[in-house]
Assembly symmetry: C2
Homo-oligomer: 181 residues x 2
DNA sequence: GCCTATGCCCGAATAAAATTCGGCAACAGG
DNA sequence: CCTGTTGCCGAATTTTATTCGGGCATAGGC
């Protein structure tokens, strides 16, 4: 029996759903390929298929895994033009008009952000005329003050949320910045 | 017999794969939920499970469906801070230094764009110190002239490439814009 | 220290799904 | 009119997901 020491267990936290190293590993694997069979994954993780299945079920129930989806090729489905639209609005937040535009299948992201712009939209369209049409719809909204578009020339990385975390990202800057008490 | 005629080949090596309305419908369904059984999907589409399976297999082979992946909740895996970093670089394009940073699991997108900035990066980190660490790594590269960060306050839409296309997006602007010949 | 409740895991059985296969019909080209 | 090709179907077949009963270890009450 190759029973691993269960040092992955966490002290009983009632509120926060636990998410240990194994869960992270499973999540990372499913982000890369959600179509893999539990059998082969369980081998890689070091769990039985049944235990793995239970964990995945719990990850879904907890909302860690929100869903599993197909990743399409934008160009091959007829939408080769990707762009970011920066929107400056009068007033605050997202209005019903903007939300309606956000529902268009061309619109992939709508985020309110800090900085000198209010909203960042990520849109993918069939051709430049469609981009213009999208901008026209934006300018029909009276809360839209200005827009600034950035057409994507080439994509060097584009992927969903990754499960892994680089541990030493913050620490390297911390030295000499945190004041002594 | 499946013979490959050389005159079928197009520049790029791939003969034009067809992508009809049914394919689009299937793709749209799989983007929403790739875990659905072929049986239930075939009912909705109006095909047999076998025919549906064959189409999906072809969509994958053609690269229309690039992969199927799990969508994680950024906050629940310990990365609640989402931001866009606009990078202005000296010289052109993506350098090896930038490509290395693009491999970090915190970096979800790296795009070269038109406009007054060179690169747009989408990053998701655990806390602001990690964002600072990321910026520190960027500024270590001598090709990086300046950056401008936009922290996401709230996400109103965030989803992968959608299969649907709004047909009348371009047409509405076209009226009165395209000059008569 | 002992006892029990709990969480996590396993192997095997079962249910469900994916995948394959042979054949039929529509269509285009010769 | 024939013929090769394509897309589809229903039914087998194989693979996979899912359930089930139980074992082991830990934590906490007593």
């Amino acid at each position: 029996m190759k029973q691993e020491k269960t040092d992955n267990l966490q002290p009983g936290g009632v509120s926060a759903p636990r998410f240990d190293a194994i869960d992270r590993k499973i999540s990372a694997a499913l982000v890369k390929d959600a179509g893999r069979s539990f059998a082969s994954l369980s081998e890689e993780i070091g769990l039985s298929a049944a235990a793995l299945h239970e964990r995945v079920k719990r990850l879904r129930a907890n909302g860690v895994i929100r869903r599993t989806q197909a990743a399409l090729d934008g160009a091959k489905i007829g939408k080769p033009l990707l762009a970011y639209i920066h929107v400056t609005t009068a007033g605050w937040g997202i209005t019903p008009g903007l939300m309606k535009i956000a529902q268009l299948p061309e619109v992939e992201e709508v985020q309110t952000v800090t900085g000198d712009i209010s909203v960042i939209m990520k849109v993918r369209v069939s051709h430049s005329l469609a981009l213009q049409g999208l901008l026209a719809r934006l300018y029909k909204l009276k809360e839209v003050r200005a827009t600034s578009s950035h057409v994507v020339l080439s994509t060097h990385q584009e992927r969903p949320v990754q499960a892994e975390i680089t541990e030493d990202l913050g620490s390297e800057v911390a030295v000499g910045i945190i004041p002594e008490v």
